[in-house]
């Protein structure tokens, strides 16, 4: 019995929590306790998994007594355990934030009591997708998290949320159908859906079939990861959801898509067949995304566009299929989950304090709440890639890998990356200048909350006009601050973390550890970087 055999608990515990909180639907306090306790337990467990995989111990757990390649496998390696830890830490912070929001507003309505079970199911789906060792289980993980996200997206059932939810659901279902078609074709071509087994068998197919399957999987994951031109749905649907929900979606859901793309590129289809299209897509994602961000006046929409734009960096690292590029991409995913989520959480606080998330209506927040300004400034600069933050380190890693590659396209991407970074800084600086730095009276349509002489107890956006709410509850500020500190910790411990990403990238490109962990040491691993992948 090794630590890795506890891996299924990362999925089971949140589902158990969901069942419990669903039973406790009338007892909000017990619900909060159960969900936070179980998520903390999951996080502790995943830290153990990460520790066991830290120095390269890839391990596989078979479930239900069916030996691979027939049964369901869960694989714990450096990449998946790192993703698990980061995602659970982020979801725990968001859960505490959401609980704080619920307590501050004092609402015991039905939509909020459904929040906890749904949220835990979302976490279970994300964990399942990260751990999954076969394509169909990955599909199931995606569906678990998507179905939960449909409910969270339309929480409360207001007009704008329903409108956004429709687009989101339809796009997600179409991408899932594409994924399922790809799985059916993969199964038809090889007779297996186990990823380690596929890694051995896909190499035997002829080039045309391989490329077809490869493209189908990448398109399906590209929609979920919001890679241009498949990213149009994201800025349309994310901003309308409640602040904690948008935060967790922005942090986790697109990254699950990126994770699946990484697995596709490294494990299933190694080599460089589709690197050029991927690089072009990465460049367009970065530039088009950030140009979209510059046009926005609503902070949530602006952040949604920067989210799309920064997915481009990860795809860039992935598309180079070199160890350095992949390592930087792994590091960047971990960094971006934390930073993007904290920025959305801060935006939720801005909306509570300033009464709006539109920069046309905000002003003077730095004076009203210096803490809020600090909480926005640190992740904002981090996102823009200002040294010494982790965003800078991740981008430098990517740019170095791009220069090492040295092709004209790689240089174009390096340039695009620098330009995107500068434009991100511009977008963030505009928010900073308007919402925090100028006087509220200078805003185009200043929000009355900011102009009121004693703004301590007035109606916030989440409450009815006659009820009084705490504008900045301690729990919400505390959980946001904790997440911002995690972002800073990623900078402080960037050395060991980069070491981990480096080992993860090498293991993924080697494919040997993964395949041996799943199929046993006897499995013959095909040539590591050969495009044909002959056995």
């Amino acid at each position: 019995m090794t630590i890795a055999s506890l891996a299924p608990l990362a999925v089971v515990l949140p589902i158990l929590g969901a069942a419990l909180t669903f039973l406790l639907i009338r007892h909000t306090r017990a619900q909060r306790g159960v969900s936070i306790a179980l998520l903390s337990l999951t996080l502790a467990l995943e830290c153990l998994l990460l520790a066991s995989a830290w120095n390269g111990g890839t391990a596989a757990v078979t479930i239900g007594g069916w030996l691979p390649p027939f049964g369901i496998v869960m694989v714990v390696d450096q990449f998946s355990s790192l993703m698990l830890v980061v995602s659970s830490a982020v979801s725990l912070a968001v859960l505490v934030y959401a609980t704080g929001q619920g307590m501050a507003d004092g609402d015991h309505d039905a939509p909020v009591s459904i929040f906890h079970p749904t949220y835990l199911i979302l976490v279970a789906g994300v964990s399942n997708a990260f751990l999954s060792g076969d394509l169909f289980n990955l599909y199931v993980g995606f569906e678990i998290l998507l179905t939960a996200s449909y409910v969270l997206m339309t929480l409360g059932g207001t007009g704008p949320r329903i409108r956004a939810g429709v687009t989101y659901v339809v796009v997600s279902v179409v991408s899932s159908v594409l994924f399922l078609i790809a799985i059916a074709m993969v199964y038809g071509a090889t007779g297996t859906v186990n990823m380690a087994d596929l890694a051995l068998k896909l190499g035997d197919l002829d080039q045309g079939t391989r490329t077809l399957l490869h493209v189908m999987l990448l398109v399906a994951f590209g929609i979920k990861a919001a890679v241009f031109p498949l990213s149009f749905w994201l800025p349309d649907s994310y901003p309308t959801a409640p602040a904690p929900v948008t935060a967790v979606f922005a942090g986790l859901l697109t990254k699950v898509g990126v994770y699946a793309m990484v697995r596709t590129e490294t494990l299933l289809f190694p080599g460089d067949t589709l690197n050029t299209p991927l690089m072009v897509a990465a460049l367009l994602t970065m530039v088009v995304g950030i140009l979209g961000a510059l046009a926005q006046s609503d902070i949530k929409r602006l952040l949604s566009f920067t989210l799309v734009s920064h997915i481009g960096y990860m795809v860039f690292g992935l598309a180079m299929s070199s160890a350095a590029g992949l390592a930087a991409a792994v590091f960047y995913v971990a960094h971006h989950i934390t930073i993007q989520t904290s920025l959305f959480l801060v935006t939720g606080l801005i909306e509570r304090r300033g009464g709006s998330s539109s920069v046309d209506r905000l002003g003077g927040l730095a004076k009203l709440s210096p803490m809020l300004a600090l909480l926005f400034f640190i992740p904002g600069m981090n996102l823009a890639g200002i040294p010494p933050f982790s965003g800078f380190l991740g981008k430098v890693g990517l740019l170095q890998a791009g220069v090492e590659l040295g092709t004209p396209l790689a240089y174009a991407l390096v340039t695009g990356g620098v330009v995107t970074s500068l434009l991100t800084l511009l977008a963030i600086a505009r928010v900073w200048n308007r919402a925090f730095w100028r006087r509220p009276t200078d805003a185009e349509h200043p929000d009355p909350v900011l102009l009121a002489p004693q703004p301590v107890r007035v109606a916030g956006p989440g409450a009815k006009l006659n009820s009084t709410v705490t504008l900045l509850p301690r729990t919400m500020v505390g959980s946001t601050a904790a997440l911002v500190m995690v972002g800073v910790a990623l900078t402080v411990f960037a050395g060991p973390l980069f070491g981990l990403s480096d080992r993860a990238a090498r293991d993924m490109l080697d494919r040997g550890p993964y395949i041996h962990a799943v199929l046993g040491d006897a499995a013959a691993v095909p040539g590591t970087t050969a495009a044909g992948g002959t056995r």
Partner: protein
């Protein structure tokens, strides 16, 4: 491996109808389209299982290749359950859309339209910067003796907008209580008429 041609033709027809339907603006048709797509995919998975063999119940005297492949059926079962959940949820959303908007069509994103209609000229970024942007009032420099300390940094157009609307409970495009509005009505407050877009909120 023999392939059932009827199955494939039906699958193709379902895909064609499904894709046609999801391109409609009517939500009910989109839902029907998604259901057709899901069922077409189920047929595709069934087709990957190869020819129709015996039921996969183990018996000693039957060779392994005579059995039907059971795995695709397990996959189909899972996918049916998932599409069932999604269909139920979509029906809920469609009903809610009907309750809220009394129509069965996908709505436009108002904020998106607003951003698209916004001119590229940005009042704050692109306007001519007044020579005096300091926080210290000009009176300290003894220029004209007028106190401009509570004007904004964009003082040039702030002066033009300073004419207040009469006592109202609408301020900055937001409904507010009378006492707040009263607290607002201090000299120098730059509340202008609420714009019809109202910041997209």
């Amino acid at each position: 491996m023999s392939v059932n041609l009827t199955l494939l033709i039906v699958m193709g027809a379902l895909y064609a109808c499904g894709i046609y339907l999801i391109l409609e603006r009517s939500l009910t048709r989109v839902l029907l389209g998604l259901m057709l797509l899901a069922n077409a995919t189920n047929l595709l998975i069934l087709a990957t299982g190869g020819y129709a063999g015996l039921a996969p119940l183990f018996a000693k005297d039957i060779a392994a290749k005579d059995y039907n492949d059971p795995l695709p059926q397990a996959l189909i079962l899972t996918s049916i359950v998932i599409s069932f959940a999604v269909t139920a949820f979509m029906l809920g959303i469609i009903y809610r859309t009907w309750l809220l908007a009394r129509q069965d069509e996908i709505q436009d994103d108002a904020e998106d339209r607003r951003v698209a209609a916004t001119p590229s000229f940005d009042a704050e970024d692109d306007a001519e910067v007044p020579a005096e942007t300091s926080e210290f009032p000009l009176t300290m420099l003894g220029s004209d003796g007028m106190d401009v300390s509570d004007r904004g940094a964009s003082g040039a157009d702030a002066g033009l907008q300073a004419d207040q609307p009469p006592a109202t409970v609408l301020a900055g495009g937001r409904e507010m209580s009378a006492e707040h509005a009263a607290a607002e009505e201090k000299p120098g407050s730059l509340n202008i008429d609420p714009s019809p877009e109202g910041g997209g909120k």
